[in-house]
Symmetry: C2
Subunit: 206 residues, 2 copies
Amino acid sequence: MPRPVLQRLPQYLWYIQEQKDAGVQYVYSQEIARELGLTPSTVREDFTYLDFSGQSKRGYATERLSGVLSDLLGVHAEKRIVIVGAGNLGRALALHGNLERYGFYVRAVVDVNPRLVGTKIGALIVGGIEDLTDVVQTEKIDIGVIAVPAASAQNVADLLILAGARGLLNMAFARVVAPKKVRVVNARLISSFLQLSCAVGADTQL
Amino acid sequence: MPRPVLQRLPQYLWYIQEQKDAGVQYVYSQEIARELGLTPSTVREDFTYLDFSGQSKRGYATERLSGVLSDLLGVHAEKRIVIVGAGNLGRALALHGNLERYGFYVRAVVDVNPRLVGTKIGALIVGGIEDLTDVVQTEKIDIGVIAVPAASAQNVADLLILAGARGLLNMAFARVVAPKKVRVVNARLISSFLQLSCAVGADTQL
DNA sequence: TAGATTGTTAATCGATTAACAATC
DNA sequence: TAGATTGTTAATCGATTAACAATC
């Protein structure tokens, strides 16, 4: 599946669920497109990657489509998470209840800073970075979240990969490399802010 | 400037600054490309959008290049931020000291929840959502961060736009529409997590 | 000078969009 | 049936990559 399509899947899921919850049973590619800022062609083309068909003249059944998207995105699967970095960001993620609605369970938080080790975040107790390898294995961690300063990001990634994490979510303002079998998704806040700063334009720039 | 180029600029900035700080004076497009997972052609092509030239056989001067990138991305400009939503995520952003290093200053946090209004986040006191319009104007806010549940995201966006924000950073799992003059950058955590879940594959999916 | 790198043009690649036959 | 929507193919668009003359 092409990257751009994958990136749109969560958007489709959000919109279709919203429609389903509102009691709408069928939606046209045209409506989806308008709502998400795409063309109907793109929507229909994207849906060819799904194990699902629409019905001409009726559109796409929200119930089934949201199910297919949920399955493909693994919403119903339990995905076990470790957060590395117990700073503000790591803490916020660990407490961010909404993640569980989509099957993401934060099972552990670790940090290098000895002053943070032992503190509580919700029901979790922050572990030391030296526990990371063990934690990944005993907690059967699927995904590691990198919420540390940029300079340590690659080190943390290497530890996570070695310990057997299958996916990394990188929140640090650094690039992280990983072998092909380990997927990396970047959610670099500073990058997003900087893009906005640039787009917002040069008139502020003084 | 094409969107993909804009998205790469922060990466360039990060790498070039790192090299500069390490005392490296010149870098080749080849090195940059290898380090960031691009081709040398892409790097050179991207740099044509900058007001800056390399030197054949010597490469790009890290000092000047990091300056040009910083200016273009507005690192040295003061960008005034309001955060809407004083939940875990909003709180984390407000306390995230690293933002100031890139010129982002959180000037206010507001929330609908009366129980949060009046609480302190660092040096700031959480305001009510009804203060938003005033705050944007009196604090000369440039960028509004949407850190509320998906269902309220568009409402908040509309308020921010009306009040005169010039850019929106959307962290909610919803699409937000805005007039062309207001730039929107999405940093939807749930989307990133779901992409990873999908990429990590179907074997977890039971 | 010879060799290597830049800036830039041309070729390739892939994603998006348009168009249309098949379907209801 | 007529009209509108899907699935799919072909055309377009834009981004990436390759190639190469100019430069040091």
